[in-house]
Symmetry: none
Subunit: 416 residues, 2 copies
Amino acid sequence: MDAEIMAVGTELLLGDIINTNAQYLAKELALLGIGIYRQTTVGDNEERLKTALRQALKDTEIVITTGGLGPTSDDITKEVSAMVLGKELVLHEPSYEVIKSYFRNNDRAMLNGNQKQAMFPEGSIILDNPNGTAPGCIIKGEDNRFIINLPGPPKEMVPMFENKVKPFLSQFMEHTIISKTLRCIGLGEWDMATRVKDLIDYSENPTVAPYAKDGESILRITAKAKNEEEARNMILPVEEEIRNRIGEYIYGTDEDTLQDVIGRELVANRRSIAIAESVTGGMIASRLLGYEGGMSEVLEEAFITYSNASKVKYLGVNEATLEAYGAVSEETCTEMAEGLYEKTGADVCLVTTGIAGPTGGSEEKPVGLVYIGIGVKGKVTVFKHYFTGGREKIRVRATITALDYLRREILAMEMA
Amino acid sequence: MDAEIMAVGTELLLGDIINTNAQYLAKELALLGIGIYRQTTVGDNEERLKTALRQALKDTEIVITTGGLGPTSDDITKEVSAMVLGKELVLHEPSYEVIKSYFRNNDRAMLNGNQKQAMFPEGSIILDNPNGTAPGCIIKGEDNRFIINLPGPPKEMVPMFENKVKPFLSQFMEHTIISKTLRCIGLGEWDMATRVKDLIDYSENPTVAPYAKDGESILRITAKAKNEEEARNMILPVEEEIRNRIGEYIYGTDEDTLQDVIGRELVANRRSIAIAESVTGGMIASRLLGYEGGMSEVLEEAFITYSNASKVKYLGVNEATLEAYGAVSEETCTEMAEGLYEKTGADVCLVTTGIAGPTGGSEEKPVGLVYIGIGVKGKVTVFKHYFTGGREKIRVRATITALDYLRREILAMEMA
């Protein structure tokens, strides 16, 4: 069973407002096991809406529209839906009463247009709207095809879908679709695709699909089954197979974030952490402190040691080292991490130094060169990277990479 | 001249990510005077994409696709676009070289899939991509119909549209449309709309439109004229009128960012700055150090003093003050700023302390309470704010607000 999600409204078409309804409906329909054939946005234009609805009814069994149920003459979704399905509009007295009382209670004058909001295609199921004046409706067409008209405002549409439409659609479903997301770092979309390419290309149920997002790569396992439990059991062996191949790169699943995974580990094991950032300039600390659980138990302080002087002053880096090797060097990075440990005594010390550009690069040390140092109880390991992209991208990539090294170190500590 | 905006990608179709590209492109095309006929989202499915492209070419002159230009076998947009227009794919050597060097610089192995990214429909205009590995292209079909393939990530798509596609499309327009954006902070979209509501409601050419984005509010003045100079002259008086009304809130125009405006001022006037963050935990420093010009001349160091102990240790806050008033108080905030000045001697000292939540709030000090302190040569002013939203939103709003106070202080210093 397939559905098309159709947003109606010139304000959406012209980009004045963003269409969050489509995303919500797509996710919900997928969970119901209804395939999403297409998403469309059309303006408040009778001819174009008519064409779009006819096309949608050709390609899919269910067309869910959002918007265009208001009182003004621009609001034509119900009218055109009825036209396309060859139905008359008839007044729905109960809805009319509700609308009238709504205006009484809100001391607002009733407009003629508001009666229009109580008119529905004959024989349709009315979806009352406790959060606004526009009820929705489910209109049955030929050979079990439906047009479902929902209001545009998410705070009206979402509860209406949740409470009325979902139960209605569930009756047609003999299966459900469940997904699990594996989140990776340090592994390009392409690398991942090759390492698990056979699974991506040949798995049918569950399916495996790769995505790249904000410097992370993501693998999504999706299973279709009679019920959620069965679907989860189908996902399990596939996840295990993927973990056997690229497990070390997987930092979390579904809604996990790097800061959550790291934050949880640090707090659970009471590992204190300190950070000293040069090239990333606070980005690592800022990201880590985004951890919803709060880091105050494990993070006391962090430093942004941007200048050479500050590296000497706060981290005890030797001027001689800076002289001989420069601020962006393995030697300086090492002394930064050692100094940070001496200063704070934190179990884990994370430091960065590098060149984000656009200026300051050289033949020998190009823009994008970044050293990441991690000290565990003062024992330091340094990683050297060349990141590409603009200043911001280099800083972001250095941050994500540093956080992933941190994650691996922490896990290693717990295993040790 | 009409266009269809087509997003390609199963992750969009299923609602895993929200389609911000469509909104951006809709706005931009409208500015160019190109009508938007329809927006569509289809999955990585050859047949459905083919159908959608054919329909779009029937209804419109320009089809702009986003997504599906990656290296994996799921990425089929270019291939299907070529098919629909009856073109062969040919290797574009210059793009291939760029991609190869990209992998060299990243110490990563180049694989077949990436060569695919350098293959383009014969005769198409290549749009190189400085922000990623997937170039875009403009493919000309029969009777002046075009398919324009753009990458999916907004960070790649937006500059490509701005720098390559816009100029290309402009040539078909007999008039040009020029916009100027005024960027405001500390002024809600609603406040702005009321203060300049008459301009927004009644201006026709130039038009004035408000937007809200990432805690900033934006006013966009758009003029339609025979040429750019004429358009700019039409914008001038409108901008002046707006500045007369809400000038103090306007921090910059067009592509300006807060960090650019502040960074330029600080560097130009050799004003040194130091930062000590508690609730914002590095976000202010990280944002400021994003300034493309580089801050090393004016910023030596910054501190993230997250714990009470660190506020005492690095900023010399009195334990008695923390005892009596707590870490989140005007008194502690003041001593943080004073201590930061004593420690660094920086011309400007910026500090924050607050409660980002989700836990840690109280009746008297709710989640969202933030104190921002600014010291100029040691003389401290403290601002108290209640921010709403989740942990992340509160930190972001505190950061933007703090940076705007900083901007105002710096300007005041220069005027003094």
